[in-house]
Symmetry: C2
């Protein structure tokens, strides 16, 4: 395994770094577009490369259920399967079992759940989750965790944490040594449990550390409190990943706390729903006023969509429910997110992260969505 | 208007020609992929160009209803709107009023119908249809016709023909002289009416002639009879277009009768439904046996899909209802159709159309679709 993290600059707690892997370098803070079913929805891998994506996240839960990790292994692994030669991070499925499965039973040795696709019964253990991620052949694997709801009683959170630490150890023992493996700090909304979780995981020496179980319905302030409290507890020399979060206001908060990696379906899902990020704020492409608008979506934007098509065309594609609407909107939103991260990295390099944050916060609060 | 048709070779009645327009040359026999709503479904114009498409068909009826021809004109016309710089042929909407509108009333001056989108009431006249096509700015426009059902009584067919000829004249008078204008031969399944229609239109001197009102439910033999009877009645020096037909067995029959142009949603619609054309016949990508198949869809195929992805991936994309499934399948099927036409043109050039037809007929009859 080739996995090396270097910090190039810091600006207060914000970090500008690089993760080197055998499949390429990931500049941090990094945004990982989500390719749930072995495709970033509506995109092909060439387009993701052209957009400047340096890593893609894919979902263990989904690929285990369909087409099955054995199939992906037999045809050469996930990178070959989806023709993406850059690094892939696979999550561990803990969150999806929690959020997608109609029934689940947590047991000491694993989780029994029903498939959201066909209702079939499955049992995931830490060892199986490691085997699945090994079969997929991702560059970064994640430990299996129980994801708890919000609100959760302290006792529940505590028992869950005990289990999660045990499972992390079992994942470590069962790990595939060709993959980097990240631990996931849990502990619900209790700072002392977060601290305990962080300490227990740090002792096990993972290649990186994630914060999990956030953005599960809690108020933003509480999420920020957990991020700001927990992040500094993590080893400075290892990458830190805030799972499932991508609202750019949250990203700014988390980067200022020292987080390095993010993933979120927001740019892709919003694109398919016609919500587009621009240098002036979010807009809905459905808006009546775009009907005859021959101008580009975002005049300053250099993406393929803005370089070629009018707002009138994008609106027409959306209203006609054309597949090209989803493609063009997704290209734009992913470009916007990756460009935001590129600019954020430059700001940290120059020691201007605070100014960047202030400026962007103003824009991001504009929301013309109808 | 720059519109010139030359025949390069003939092989019995089959013709190998070129239509020169100000937006590029169309090699005939030509297949026109269908871009109903100003996009070939799932594709962008760059991809269509790379696939070798030389002309695209777009639908007057759809674009009139949404977004409206005034809007398309105001943002620079259809070519600019969809960023396709090659020629576009627009149909006249006659067939769509017939096939899509829940209610329609044919009157002497035009057709009243309800939109299939929102039920709103509209009245299309020959003059309005010419205005719409002029606003869209297509390279080739079509006259407005009544499309009659099958079966139709002789008297109905005769009255409809009288109307259609009148409308053709009105279209000619209202034409935009920057566009080529094609007449459409009607007459139902009555050879004498087809002859009458052809003669009346030839007298008006259109830039090309189409056969319309076929493939509306009649037996294949009857369609073939109409094509074989009517095609030789049309002027040899003008392009001949068989509307809405694209089953490749029908194409072979029609080319051997002297038809030059075709359009059909078959390759694109089939692609979205998972039916793929290969050098061995049609297959369904859903088939269980493709689950672990690491090989390309069609080993001899040079398209992007076959050069990059396995059958296992294509099956997985389809089963997961991913947008990329529609993209990759559409690329393959359009490539297959355009390649078929390229090979057919070469066969005519070499005087080997009969052999080509025989060989391809064997393959096209293979149908592994499940």
């Amino acid at each position: 395994m080739h996995f090396q993290f270097n910090i190039i600059n810091t600006d207060k707690s914000a970090r500008r770094g690089q993760i080197r892997t055998e499949r390429g370098t990931i500049n941090t803070p990094a945004f990982m577009p989500v390719g749930t079913n072995a495709t970033v929805k509506a995109m092909n891998s060439d387009e993701m490369k052209e957009l400047g994506a340096e890593i893609i996240l894919s979902n263990t839960y989904h690929l285990y259920l369909r087409p099955g990790h054995d199939i992906i292994r037999s045809v050469g692994g996930l990178h070959q399967f989806m023709q993406w030669d850059g690094p892939v991070l696979t999550d561990s499925g803990g969150f999806q079992v929690f959020s997608l499965s109609p029934l689940r039973k947590i047991r000491d040795d694993g989780v029994e759940f029903r498939s959201h696709i066909d209702g079939s019964l499955h049992f995931l253990t830490p060892e199986l989750v490691m085997e699945i991620q090994g079969a997929l052949g991702s560059v970064i694997a994640m430990v299996f965790v129980e994801c708890i709801p919000y609100p959760a009683e302290r006792e529940y959170a505590m028992n869950s944490l005990t289990l999660t630490t045990k499972w992390a150890k079992r994942c470590l023992d069962a790990r595939n040594h060709e993959q980097a493996l990240f631990g996931i700090v849990q502990g619900g909304m209790y700072t002392d449990l977060r601290k305990q979780s962080a300490e227990e995981l740090i002792e096990m020496e993972f290649d990186g550390y994630a914060l999990g179980g956030l953005s599960v319905g809690e108020p933003k302030e509480l999420m920020y409190e957990m991020v700001n409290y927990t992040t500094p507890l993590l080893p400075a020399e290892k990458p830190r990943y805030l799972m499932g979060i991508g609202d750019l206001l949250d990203v700014l908060e988390a980067v200022s706390a020292g987080i390095d990696m993010f993933d979120c379906v927001m740019p892709t899902r919003n694109a398919r729903n016609g919500t587009l990020f621009t240098s002036q704020g979010r807009i809905s492409i459905k808006r009546e006023e775009f009907k005859k608008d021959a101008g580009p979506l975002d005049p300053g934007c250099t993406c393929y969509t803005c370089q070629n098509f009018s707002r009138a065309y994008l609106r027409h594609m959306f209203m006609s429910r054309e597949i090209l609407s989803m493609r063009l909107n997704t290209i734009h939103n992913i470009h916007f997110f990756l460009e935001f991260f590129r600019e954020m990295r430059r700001a940290i390099e120059k020691g201007e992260f605070a100014e960047f944050r202030k400026e962007q916060t103003e824009i991001l609060k504009n929301n013309f969505h109808q």
